[in-house]
Symmetry: C2
Subunit: 194 residues, 2 copies
DNA sequence: AAAAACAAACTGACTGGTCGGTTTTTATCG
DNA sequence: CGATAAAAACCGACCAGTCAGTTTGTTTTT
């Protein structure tokens, strides 16, 4: 059985998430992560080829959860999908509080490191396309007003990203989940045909 | 005359902007900056108490330009102000290409470093208030439809931030200035009373 | 000559990654 | 089932390099 191995690996990952989130990628040293996980450096480098490889593994896992969420909404109608997204906001803001700096770190690293860029840009474009086709479908179905799907998709993603950023910078500046819910409602309402 | 001194200082600053933008705060070492600026480490630490102090100085300068832009639009009418903002987008996207990663870096550092957070949160809240009162004024004047100024302000800032982020992550993914212009137009149109 | 500006060698803490050796797990076979 | 050997997992001291910041001394300005 490789149960012990699995356990070590997951200990590394959760410690990495914790430390990358709070201190950032650079400030969280491999030694720190090992110490927090209660394992040795040898064990670390047995499981991950490098610090960057660990980072990439984290990115992968995170994208997986998004993909799963998208997959789960596959059979719903277009307006239903958006409603569901609205309902997901409180959860996102609640859980993302800690993970958000890391999310940002991913993007920042992505803009400079080609390997990481490749790993994060493809999913991003996929999500944009997903939204675009979703809106297009809504327009064709007749449930949405005539809009440029491409543009509307960019705007929705922008709003979401901007709200996440603002909530990161100033967590106590507003009731962010409320703002997010209302914003989404507003956006969707402006899309929906009355 | 302290002309030579001034020159050295500005050489440090422009090299810092250049290197922080391209490599990031951590990866750009003080030695690198000195080398790029063509000065010695002694000169660096003569002008700036620490690497962080330089970073803060950069942040200050950047906020200054925003404040100036706001100041310049003081006497215009509300719709005029927004129109002007729309027109400013191409310029922002054109010039910001290089500086944008640093903008993100500010955010990231701010979320972890209390000193930097203090320096950036106050201006941010000021800008939000500025927008809110601007929209409020527009509503009272009767040129805007009845909206929640607070919420509309958050949304406008979100959209702007999100677009900047997206353009940073995927510069070739879209004609961002065009998307930005259209998005702003769309937002403003939904605010304007017909 | 006093002070400000600058040069450059230096310090000490820290980092990612390696490596030889040890323990635990797993597969094999009598 | 139990002995055993190979393989996988793990340990932690160690290394070479890097970095922010210091110090000491020189040049330039006032």
């Amino acid at each position: 059985m490789q149960q012990r191995s699995e356990e070590t690996r997951s200990k590394i990952i959760s410690s990495a998430i914790k430390l990358f989130s709070t201190r950032g990628y650079n400030a969280a040293s491999v030694d720190d992560i090992c110490k927090d996980a209660g394992i040795s450096k040898g064990a670390f480098y047995h499981h991950f080829k490098s610090k960057q490889a660990l980072f990439l593994a984290l990115l992968d896992g995170w994208l997986q959860t998004i993909d799963n969420a998208i997959e789960a909404s596959k059979d719903k109608t277009v307006p239903e999908t958006f409603t569901q997204m609205t309902e997901a906001f409180p959860y996102i803001f609640q859980t993302a509080g800690a993970g958000l700096p890391m999310f940002l770190e991913f993007w920042l690293q992505a803009s400079r490191d080609d390997k990481i860029w490749q790993a994060s840009i493809a999913p991003y474009r996929r999500y944009h396309k997903h939204f675009t086709s979703l809106i297009k479908k809504g327009v064709e179905e007749g449930s949405f007003v005539e809009v440029n799907p491409e543009l509307a998709s960019r705007m929705i993603i922008s709003t979401a990203m901007g709200l996440l950023l603002q909530s990161l910078l100033d967590p106590k500046g507003a009731k962010w989940e409320k703002v997010a819910r209302e914003s989404t409602t507003m956006l969707v309402n402006s899309l929906l045909k009355k």
